[in-house]
């Protein structure tokens, strides 16, 4: 039994069956990639996992507990963090503050009325946030406003915000989209290292096959809301159905 078990999940938007009958099992400590053409329903699937959407049918178990019906912040507190397809960061806050907020969430839970203490006295959290920023090569930008960052930096910042929480499951929706080649490679290295060292399970959506094949241990191919195949990268590469549905058009 995997840490994440998706069973028979379906979701309709009006006349569009965005997800058909999705079954997915992500084993603990692995990197599991979900690939598929545009509009296949990949983001919709993630939305069902983090409480943004509630699927019409099926169940989602994380660590044996159902996540359906829970609020996004409760699901995060269970240990699931998500990087979005378009970076979701606190644009009006400094880079360091962006990373400190998840630290507070991890330490203090969903709410604490710490209205009189000074942020400046939170040395250990600050150090933790700065260490994380150093890991993503952004330490020297810690006092910048997040809105002033480049697109690639915003993505890395969002990743740092998720990683600093030491989640048990990290969901990444196209984490390298919009990044320069060098940054993409850095990101791959970072994610590899994170997966090895911190033992974080990852579920990654990616169009860049270079990223997918460097990281993933299992790959699920999603097309029109239903999983086509699930297999190891080697087998996926040569799979005729996959070539037809996806790889052929993506020009690997």
């Amino acid at each position: 039994m995997g840490i994440l078990e998706v069973k028979g999940v379906g979701k309709r938007f009006g006349g569009l069956q965005a997800l058909g009958d999705v079954n997915l099992s992500v084993a603990e400590s692995t990197v599991h990639a979900i690939i598929g053409p545009n509009g296949a329903g990949k983001s919709t699937l993630l939305n069902c996992l983090v409480g943004k959407l509630i699927p019409d049918t099926g169940s989602v178990l994380f660590d044996g507990k159902s996540v359906l019906g829970r609020k996004p912040h409760e699901i995060n507190q269970m240990g699931i963090s998500r990087v979005f397809q378009t970076p979701e960061i606190f644009a009006d806050l400094s880079v360091l503050e962006n990373v400190m907020i998840p630290c507070f969430a991890k330490r203090d839970g969903a709410f604490r009325l710490h209205a009189i203490e000074s942020v400046e006295n939170e040395k250990s959290l600050q150090d933790k946030a700065e260490e994380m920023l150093a890991d993503v090569n952004m330490l020297e930008k810690r006092n910048m406003l997040a809105s002033a960052l480049s697109r690639g930096d915003k993505r890395r910042l969002e990743m740092a915000m998720c990683l600093v929480q030491d989640p048990r499951l990290l969901l990444l929706d196209e984490p390298t989209a919009g990044m320069a080649r060098a940054d993409t490679n850095n990101t791959i290295d970072l994610l590899k290292e994170i997966n090895d060292k911190r033992d974080i399970t990852m579920c990654i959506i990616e169009h860049d096959m270079h990223v997918v094949f460097s990281l993933a241990e299992r790959i699920t191919v999603l097309a029109q809301g239903t999983p086509l195949v699930e297999d190891t990268p080697e087998n996926i590469k040569g799979h005729p159905k996959v070539r037809e549905a996806y790889l052929g058009e993506a020009q690997v």
Binding site: R82, L93, M100, F111, S118, V119
Partner: protein, 428 residues
């Protein structure tokens, strides 16, 4: 609405610095401490600062150093400081905060009627009752955000006004409002000598008592009520600095910046916004309590929707999200309301008497609509100018002046950051 701040590259952002937080006094960092000391100095010496013109001179009507107006400066300063904790930090624009001020006033006067004319229980009662009321209103209104939240708060305030004016007359005095009366119970106080009206006091020190200092042709008035209110304002201001610099304050700014991200980061934004709402309601209650402590009367018009709008104007005019902005805005508006409104056509004719008669009449006719009862017009124009040219309010104006004089680009403070960050539309 992202990518608004285009100060190339190294924009220095607020709060956490890496250096050790050494040399903190009262838990305030260097810049915050200077700001607090500045406000402390202004409040202490207000009777001098606001009375720069000698008694009887032509300009003496611009003097604002009389107790009634000075009290209003600091009391509405408190109101605006509290409002700014909600609006400036979270971006939730309440259009009903006068309701909390009014409820605070009613609670305060009842404490003085039933218990004692000592203002301390009245002030505490005001804060507590307004806080409880804010808890209810906030709990319901915060189910929505944006314009719907604003409308809900407005609806609550209008209902409160209507109730106070009609159904609740036994508690609120309806149209006539409430005043202290000789035959109030005052169970904690000794019997008053017959013919002595009850007076608000602080352990016997009468709130209306003043000491007048005459220096040449200047007269400076030091009023007990003013100093009590000023003390409360300093306390409120100090607390607001602490809140701005706290993890709680950071969460509130995160709510304004990206509530979605906050929720996916494991923070439940609702209790944070509700806490901010209640705190700002308690500030409003404190302001309401101080108002009755000064003039021992309440009327429902204190809760009218225009009063709610006024605190919005104060905060935006001064600079929403900045520490000192709301205080400046409150001072500005109250000054206009009380000073500019007193200039009538006789005064204008006096001023321009040196001009030839025909020209004098023309000049007076041009200026007249903007003063006296027309002070709203002047204020409206001023407000438009500020919002268009200084979206960060007067604080941003001050910052601009400061950079012109100093040309010191590195001197970014939290105030300037907050001021710069104000987008064109404050309610976004």
């Amino acid at each position: 609405m992202t990518d608004q701040t285009t100060d190339t590259g190294a924009v220095r952002a607020s709060a956490p610095k890496t250096k050790a937080a050494s040399g903190r006094v009262l838990g305030l960092g260097g810049k915050d401490l200077s700001l607090f000391l500045l406000v402390l100095g202004l409040a202490l010496f207000a009777p001098f600062i606001l009375n720069p013109f000698p008694e009887g001179s032509a300009l003496s009507q611009f003097n604002a150093g009389y107790p009634d107006l000075m009290q209003r400066f600091v009391i509405f300063g408190i109101f605006a400081i509290g409002f700014n904790i909600l609006f400036g930090l979270t971006g939730y624009l309440s259009f009903g905060h006068a309701a909390f001020l009014g409820v605070g006033s009613y609670a305060g006067i009842w404490m003085m009627k039933l218990l004692t004319t000592n203002v301390i229980p009245a002030i505490i009662g005001s804060i507590v009752v307004a806080g409880l009321f804010a808890l209810i209103v906030g709990f319901i209104s915060l189910r929505r955000s944006g314009i719907y939240f604003s409308i809900l708060t407005l609806a609550f305030a209008m209902m409160s006004f209507a109730l106070a004016y009609s159904v609740l007359t036994p508690i609120t005095g309806g149209e006539t409002g409430l005043q202290l009366k000789y035959f109030d119970p005052r169970i904690l106080d000794a019997e008053l000598a017959p013919g002595n009206p009850p007076r608000a006091n602080l352990f016997g020190l009468n709130m209306t008592s003043s000491y007048e200092l005459e220096l040449g042709s200047w007269v400076f008035t030091f009023n007990a009520g003013y100093y009590l209110a000023a003390f409360m304002m300093l306390l409120a201001f100090y607390l607001s600095i602490r809140i701005f610099r706290s993890p709680f304050g950071m969460m509130l700014r995160a709510v304004k910046s990206n509530q979605n991200r906050l929720n996916y980061t494991g923070i439940s934004s609702k209790p944070y916004t509700l806490a901010a709402f209640v705190i700002s309601g308690m500030y409003a209650g404190l302001a309401g309590g101080l108002l009755v402590a000064m003039d021992t009367q309440v009327g429902a018009e204190r809760m009218f929707w225009t009063a709610s709008g006024e605190v919005v104007l104060m905060t935006i005019l001064g600079g929403a999200g900045t520490l000192i902005g709301p205080v400046l805005g409150a001072g500005f508006i109250k000054y206009f309301e009380n000073i500019i409104s007193k200039i009538n056509s006789t005064v204008l004719h006096d001023w321009f008497a040196f001009l030839p008669d025909g020209l004098e009449n023309v000049v007076v006719a041009i200026i007249y609509p903007f003063v006296g009862k027309g002070w709203h017009l002047t204020l409206g124009l001023l407000f438009m100018l500020v919002v268009i040219f200084l979206p960060g309010g007067l604080v941003q104006g001050g910052q601009k002046l400061a950079t012109v004089f100093r040309r010191d680009k590195n001197a970014g403070s939290v105030e300037s950051d907050a001021a710069k960050k104000q987008p064109g539309h404050p309610g976004e």
